[in-house]
Subunit: 342 residues, 2 copies
């Protein structure tokens, strides 16, 4: 649930209105089971309920308007990867292992060849995340939709005593940034507004012979296997999936410390391209897009290097990008940006 503001509002996603809508809805949700109660609910990256000595996690997310790029490119075999990624990357944020996923396709009409392409992407995502797609639903909603929407929900689990919520994060902890593959699946309403205003075609050659459309469709990185492997070594105090809301997402881990980011790697070219063409200031770029960092891991002082080594061994680009200090918020020191609420 992104809370970025500014140009994004003018692109059609009014984030203030969205947070009001969500609060109004969530405020009504008073009923709680007396057993298997929620220990982590709305606000973190995944919800979790107790189940004996385990926690079970349940999360849901969709591909969003990246699907409109898939439509224009008539390429449907990667959005399934994004769909799995959005869910499993949330699941692992508390240290949980994804087990099973159900997909939900809502579509104005049925194009059978799309079914196979969507399935192929879901399957590639499932393999990468070690999760089984156990079921799903296809809803044909001719009068309600103009374009196919793809979302999913993911079940995960972990031992209760191993949960990592971010609450124990303290000054001195080290902040690790793990590279994204590009835009992942957020900010596409703004992307489309920029491309439309500047009349930039998707078949424009962008880099390494790839068209802009294909660069935009680059599947979201799935962090599951390396992250679960590396956190098993211990010393990890928090994890954040950098989705809508960008770097603001880190605030969901702990509001009583300052996440001081001092060494951001240079974002991929696509981000500068969007910023320049859209005239989007850094403060908005960093709260709308992942800017090259798709996942953030916080480690106890002295554990950062080991985690970085482990992540790199699993072929992820990872670096220590800052440290936790006394204070509040997320500070991007090189950019003079300070976010103080999610």
């Amino acid at each position: 649930m992104s809370l970025s503001r500014g140009a994004y509002a003018s692109s059609g996603v009014d984030i203030d209105l969205k947070s009001i809508f969500i609060s109004s809805l969530v405020r009504e949700l008073k009923y709680r089971r007396s057993v298997n109660g929620p220990v982590i609910a709305t606000g973190h990256f995944t919800a979790a309920v107790t189940f004996g000595k385990h926690l079970l996690t349940l999360s849901t997310d969709g591909v969003g308007s990246k699907l409109l790029i898939a439509r224009k490119m008539n390429k449907w075999d990667t959005v399934g990867i994004d769909c799995v990624a959005m869910n499993v990357n949330d699941t692992i944020c508390i240290g949980a292992e994804p087990i099973a996923l159900v997909d939900y396709v809502a579509t104005p009409s049925l194009e059978p060849e799309m079914g196979a392409e969507l399935g192929r992407g879901l399957n590639r995502g499932a393999r990468a995340a070690n999760v089984t797609v156990v079921g799903g639903e296809v809803a044909v909603l001719g009068h309600m939709m103009n374009e196919l929407d793809l979302s999913a929900s993911c079940l995960g689990f972990l031992e209760r005593r191993k949960v990592i919520t971010g609450r124990s994060i303290k000054a001195g902890d080290e902040i690790i940034g793990v590279a994204s593959s590009g835009l992942h699946s957020n900010g596409f309403t703004l992307v489309r507004m920029i491309l439309s205003e500047k009349s930039i075609p998707l078949d424009e050659k962008f880099q390494s012979g790839k068209s802009l459309g294909n660069v935009l469709l680059t599947p979201t990185t799935i962090y599951v296997r390396p992250v679960l492997r590396c956190i098993s070594h211990g010393g990890i105090t928090g994890m954040a999936n950098i989705t809508g809301g960008g770097m603001r997402n880190i605030l969901r881990l702990n509001e009583k410390v300052l996440f001081s980011i001092t060494d951001l790697p240079r974002p991929q070219r696509i981000f500068a391209f969007l910023s320049e063409n859209g005239g989007i200031p850094d403060s908005e770029m960093f709260q709308t897009f992942n800017m090259g960092i798709g996942f953030v891991i916080v480690a106890r002082k002295g554990h950062g290097d080991e985690a970085v080594r482990c992540l790199r061994k699993h072929r992820l680009k990872a670096d220590i990008i800052g440290q936790v200090e006394k204070g509040h918020g997320v500070a991007l020191q090189e950019y003079g940006i300070h976010y103080d609420r999610y």
Copy 2:
């Protein structure tokens, strides 16, 4: 996943095309986790994976085009009940108890007052089903949608040894029909086609001073508490949630027996109203709508009466409506209808 044909196809939901789409998608889903593998996957009412001595279930479903009636009535506080109901009534079909639910709202724009109304319905559904709504997602998809879509996914559990799949159903078993509250949340594309063709307004008085629109919006019955209570007495061999596909849904329990339905109660007036105004034959009515029976329970010979008594004690209308015989399919004897595939 309804498989009704005929008039329903002309209303915009081509069920043959839908089954091709689904098969194309599912065929690609080859990846399976080596642990926590699925024991029940696509085809039954809910998917389930192993988790120690338990099974965990995961299912997903939405309210569908019933939402277009909510829009016309500008009444959004009951569709949340439908949304919970569609999911939890699937969950209990294998004997599982729903624990947690996440909702997914995809909307073209944000109307904050709708957030509260949707939440109110979800909360009422959660209370009825004894499930916690632990999280959710709101996706603002301006260019993709014309109308808000509401769906959810539900996590449930049961002891592995207690699973009820329908596989042990055999000739002699008794078939119990449990009353629906009306249309529940299926067949609304056809409903809307009929109303539109006959120019029938939703504010037309229908019965007991209630408008047609309000009768159509009657929330789906939530069967969780009574059904879980009553199956704990034993003797239950299968359960079917009667949704899209109507009585054909029973075929999902067991394809090697004949479900012989001999004593159907008279369906609520709304069904005759739709059948008459749409000129819809019985064979199509029974495979599109629940026709008054929202849930079917199969019990071992001699256990039916006890189950009926138990369900009635919990204020559900329930009756023995037939029995299992040698053969194949679902036969509605009074109507001369025989369905032989789902």
